[in-house]
Subunit: 365 residues, 2 copies
């Protein structure tokens, strides 16, 4: 069996590495000549402007999945006519638009921050008068790592919001006083089996994920609720593969923020910290194979390498530290790798995390 | 940095998979057109009859190591003139001949079964009269997975021993009443740091490793002694990389059997069961990088897939089971993959092991 992966970034790279021991072939479709997938496996260099090349590539796959969900929908629909695409592009379309996503969450009675659709200048004023300020204006499609967002408060110049509106329709959300940010990764198999990983606590820096800690330090009720939410979404969409749901803890309330229809950065810790990783489970799910245990092995922390790579020797000197480099040229704001540490004992874990954070902070100075 | 691997089997494949996340390049040199390394990375197809091709390949490597230790010594010596070869071929030569190996162990005061060198027919008779029968006659070089061995008892026709002697000089060892077979994997870094993995208990079937259990159920004294033995050998040889030492427990005594100058089948469990696997630590060591923690994460059992592969779906239905397929065509007696299971709780572990063994036994019927 050969699995096609749309996109050639680090998520695709880690999917490929997870597929090898299972005896499954993979191939990526990626525009850049040098890509993380090309370093570890079969990659076809092709753009979204080359539909024939893409179609030809897909004909050599038994199933097609994504590591980059912003692949143009018509191209994916074209592939889906002759090959199974997992998750289903129809399910994907429902969550790729932030407005549809919020409405889906509302249908499933999953609480979110209050929101309003923004299609014109009047909508901005209505939202600012009806919701509690400040508001976050986000593009309805695209946007990641804090891109495509503007925060606006009373008396602010709304010029930046209007500029964002020029790029397409927006959604306005009430900005919340967060207690913490968490996420949950879930996976659904072809036979309908659903498994969820322990809830992860996330820390962002400049809108980019900095650190994920599993398990999250949240009340058992919040943990259960988060897992129920992602389970309900996976079931409702008849989704196949891995999905992440990002959420906010506000006081004792859990509010859904957004979904990612793919393996997720906040699930990288599962390579070492869970029985079967998110990457292996996504591969198993899209290949129609049984999914495996999502149980935690030991408390685990992942720290992203953004814009710079510390000396690998320094990383390897930290007992039990796992270095993951993606083979990307460091540039400001670019995720180029991550480091994972685990330990059954909290004191040992904290020592390892401090050593990792100290290296990462030093290299960014 | 690019690491050259002599040999393209499953050990090379797992070394390559361990090198990717560290951002290190690898390339294998292998005679077969279809090989486990070729499935996952860069592999030059070349034989030991093509010294120029081999030399050219090695010039594209920063360091060269082995996954197959029977590579002809003169060819390796030739590479070593222009590139670091780790472990050092001189160290390797000392342990590749079973007679030199036994003498090295004796020098280091590491107990072994009584032995005699066998160069001619008279030596056979002398050995059979001086040692306690039965004896195992082994070729001094080559031989693995029970090949190149003959067991002989009083009154036996020694024809089979004479035939083995025709292939080259032998060694005769007293066959022991084993309590159990164990092994220990150790690793030494370029800076002299040595780390050892927990002692592993091994079960063979038809001379081929069937199952490895870590940690071994042995007295703390035996565990410490085994780790001291491999440490002494690594130090004495100024060895760089991973080495395995196979040993026999006879009553309350620990006797060394043989060394493997490479990553070892009885260390495959370290991928999931130890903090840093034998494969990553070998890569780190030969690349001159710091070696990582060899601590056990949880009790772990590995079962080999020899000659046949069970339905991958059945394997994946076993909670937490890790399937490793090497991409080799199944043939009787051929190692084509392995399955690893871990669990902190012994009851859960035993259930998983029984499920795995049942699958493996069924497929071999």
């Amino acid at each position: 069996m050969r699995i096609g992966i749309l996109g050639g970034g680090q998520l695709g790279q880690m999917l490929m590495l997870a597929a090898y021991p299972l005896g499954l072939e993979t191939t990526a479709y990626e525009a850049k000549a040098f890509s993380p997938t090309a370093l570890v496996g079969n990659t076809t260099i092709g753009t979204t402007e080359e539909p024939e090349k893409l179609r030809d590539w897909s004909m050599h796959c038994d199933v097609v999945t994504y590591e980059w969900e912003n692949f143009p929908a018509p191209l994916v629909a074209d592939i889906a006519e002759s090959r199974p695409v997992r998750p289903d592009p129809v399910a994907l379309a429902k969550i790729q638009d932030r407005l549809f996503e919020k409405r889906l969450l509302a249908d499933l009675k999953i609480p979110t921050s209050p929101f309003r659709p923004i299609d014109n200048k009047d909508d901005i004023e209505t939202a600012m008068s009806e919701l509690v300020l400040p508001l976050i204006f986000k593009t309805r499609t695209g946007g990641y790592d804090g891109k495509g967002q503007v925060v606006s408060n009373e008396g602010d110049d709304i010029q930046a919001v209007l500029e964002l509106l020029n790029t397409g329709p927006l959604i306005a959300e009430q900005k919340l006083e967060l207690t913490k940010e968490v996420s949950v990764v879930g996976v659904r198999a072809l036979d309908g089996t659903i498994k969820t990983y322990p809830v992860t606590e996330n820390e962002h820096r400049n809108g980019i994920l900095h650190k994920s800690t599993a398990p999250a330090s949240v009340a058992p009720g919040i943990e259960a609720e988060a897992r129920e939410h992602v389970t309900a979404i996976l079931k409702h969409l008849e989704y196949i593969g891995v999905m992440a749901l990002e959420m906010f803890v506000v006081g004792d309330r859990l509010l859904a923020n957004e979904m990612a229809p793919r393996v997720h950065n906040s699930g990288h810790w599962t390579i070492e910290g869970a029985e079967i990783s998110q990457f292996e489970n996504h591969i198993r799910a899209v290949a129609g194979l049984p999914i495996g245990s999502t149980e935690l092995i030991a408390p685990t922390v992942m720290v992203n390498l953004v814009g710079a790579i510390p000396d690998p020797k320094s990383v390897m000197k930290i007992s039990g530290a796992h270095l993951h480099l993606y083979g990307k040229e460091p540039r400001p704001g670019r995720k180029v790798g991550h480091i994972t540490v685990s330990a059954a004992d909290q004191t040992a874990l904290q020592q390892r995390v401090e050593a990792v954070e100290s290296l990462v902070n030093n290299v960014l100075q």
